[in-house]
Amino acid sequence: MKGYMGKILFVDLTSRTHWERDLPDSMPGALIGGKGFGIKLLYDLLPPGTDPLDPANPLVFVSGPLTGTSAPSMRGCLVSKAPLNGMFDDSYFGGHFIQEVKYAGYDAIVVIGKAYSPVYLVISDDRVEFRDAAHLWGLDTYETCNSVKAGLGDAMFRVCCIGPAGENLVKFALVDFEPHRQAGRGGLGAVFGSKNLKAVAVRGDKGIEVAYPESFTEVVSQAHKELADSGDTQEFAKCSSVSLLPFSNEFGFLPVRNFQDGSTAQAESMNAAAHESRVWMRHWACAGCPIHCGKMGMIKRGPYAGAICDNVEYESVGLIGGNLAVNSVEAMAFINQTCDKLGLDTISTGGVVGFAIEAYERGLIDEASIGGLPLSFGDHKSILELIHQIAHREGLGDLLADGVVKAAEGLGNGTSGFACAIQGLETPAWGPRGSAGMGLAYITGDRGGCHQRGFPIGYETSGSWPKGEMADGWRLDGKGELVSWEQNLLAALYSLTICEFGRSGISYDTYRSMLAAATGLSLSEEEFLLVGERIWNLIRLFNLREGWTQDQAGVPQRFKEALPSGVMKGHAFSDEDIAALLEQYNAARGWDDSGRPTSRTLGRLRVDELMEPLFEGK
C-alpha cells in the first residue's frame, strides 16, 4: 500500500542479528500506523509481566503513512513499556529522524535484547551495523550526536541517543533526537541504557510514493492553508507554546512551587515576549512543518551567556519557571538545555526537584543527604547541581532518579501528599484543580497522567466542544463523554503520528483526506474514531495484563486541597469527584467498574481479531 514502506526491521542486540518482516496487510486498515502499530507490536512482543528494564522489553520506533511526505507536521513515535510507571508508553518526537527510517525502507524498527557492551546502531538502507560505543559512553546527548555524525561522514544521517541519565537508568531519562527534539516522557532513555544502546543513526535512499499524487498535492495545500488561516497555529508560529502561559497563569493551572499555587506574579517575566527579546533569534521547524514553533537563539547575558539554545516549551517554562520559581529566562533556558544534554525529561525533572525543595523546606530531608546543597525555590545554581546529581544518581539524586512517587515512598513522613504525579507520571504544567476534564484525562491516560492524551481545558473554558455545549471546568457533567471522545480522536490522530500543534489548525476531515490520498485508505469520520477507540481499548488490555489497576490513579493530597489563586481559586480535585468521574467514564467506554473493557465492547471494536500475534519466531 502506498504511503507505507511495507517492511518492519527487527534488531536483536544480544545476538547482533537483524531481520525484516513484511508489514502484514491487515495492519493499515485496522490500526493505521504510529500509536496503533506501536501498541500491537508491544502487545505481541513483550512477554507478559516483563520488567521495563529487562532485555526482552522491545523498543519500537514507528512512523505513520504520512510521515516523510509533504503532509505537514508529522512526528515519530517511540513505544516501549515505561520504566517510570510500568505502563504502555508512546512518546512522540519531532525533528528529522523518523523520516529517515522511512527513507531507509521501514515503517517501524523494533530493537530487542541487550548488547554485551555499549553499542550504537548504524542503519543505512538495508545495512545494519553494530558499532562499539565505548568512546561515547558518558558523553552528553549533544556530544554523542556530534561524535556519531562526524564518524559517519554524511550530515544527512539522523541520530538519536541518550545522555548520562539514560545510561544510569534514571526512570525519567529521555531519548534525544537531533538537533532539538526529545521523546521525553516515561523514561524510554532508561530502556536504551538497559540495552547498552547509546545511539541509533539512520539514513535512507528510498522515496515515499503516494496513491493519488494529484489529489495528495491538493489536499496538502489545503492543510497548509488551514494552518496559515488558524489564529491558534499562528500563535505557535510566532511565539511557540510558551504563548499559553498568560492563560494558564490567569486560570491557576500553572504549577508554582511544587503546585503549592496555580499562578505567579512573575508570569510577565517568563512570557513569550521575554524569551523573544532576550534569547530567540530565528524560527526553527521539524521536517515538513510550516509552523516553525521552534526558536533558535543564544543566551546573551549573565552566568550562562554564550550558550546556543532552542526555545523553552510551555511545559518546561511551567515546570522550571513556575514549579521551581526560576524566573530568569536565561537560567530557565540553560536548565532546559542541561536537561536535554544530560538526557532528562524536563517535566518530570521539574516535578521531582520541586518536590525535593518543598520536602527540604519542610525539614523532611536531612542536611547530610544533600551534602550541604542550599536547596531553595528560585536558586538556579543549586537546582542545576541537583539535576546533575539525578542524572548521575549521586547523593539525593539517586533517590529522586526513580521518580517522585518512589522518592516519596523512600522519604516517608507524609511526603507522598505533595508528590505531584498521577498514575506515576509527574504532572505536566496544567494542574487539575478547576478542570475536572483534565483531572479525568490524567487518571485515565494510557501512559499515566499526561496532558497529551486529552486536553479538555480548552473545551471547558470556551464552553463548547464539537458536539455542543460543555460545562464549566469545575463541573463533572459531560466530562466522561468528552474525555473518552477526545482520547479516541487523539489515538486515531496519533496513529498518523500527528503533532498537537498541527492539529491546532488542520481539520480532522483534512487529516482523513490526506490519509486517503496517500494510501487509498478511505475512512469515514466514524471509522476513523473507531480505529482510535480500538487502539485505546487494546492499550487498556495491555496495561491490565501488565498489572495496572484503577486504584493506582494515586492522585496526591495536594490536588485535593483548594487551589489558592487564579480564576479557578477554591476548586479542588476531590475523592468524590474522582469516583464520580470514573463511573461516568467507564460507562461511556463500555467498561466495567474496575475499568476493564467488557467482551461486548471488545467485540464491537473487533479487538478480539487483534489478539493473534503477527509474527511467529524470527
Binding site: 489564529g231 511565539c239 504563548s243 499559553l244 498568560p246 492563560f247 516549551e313 496544567w430 470556551s462 500543534f501
Partner: protein, 75 residues
C-alpha cells in the same frame, strides 16, 4: 464606563487599541469591547471577564477586568 483589558499573544499585534483601560457605553457587551479594540472582525477563542469565560453577547460592568486570549490548544 471603563473596563480594564489585557490582550494576550498575537492578538495584541492585531488590535488597533491596546490600551489597558477602554471607555465603553453603559451596558456594553463583549462584542462592543472587541469592536472598540479593533478585534471585532476576528473571533478570539476566549474572553475572560472577572474570572469567568464570557460570550459575545454578555454584558460588561464598569471596572470589569477582561483578558482576551487568542487560543487555548494544548501544548
Amino acid at each position: 464606563m471603563v473596563v480594564n483589558v489585557k490582550i494576550h499573544g498575537t492578538l495584541k499585534d492585531a488590535a488597533t487599541n491596546s490600551c489597558d483601560r477602554v471607555e465603553l457605553a453603559e451596558g456594553a457587551t463583549v462584542s462592543d469591547l472587541l469592536a472598540a479594540v479593533g478585534l471585532g472582525c476576528r473571533t478570539p477563542a476566549l474572553v475572560i471577564a472577572d474570572g469567568r469565560a464570557v460570550g459575545p453577547s454578555d454584558c460588561l460592568a464598569d471596572g470589569s477586568q477582561v483578558s482576551i486570549f487568542a487560543r487555548v490548544s494544548g501544548g
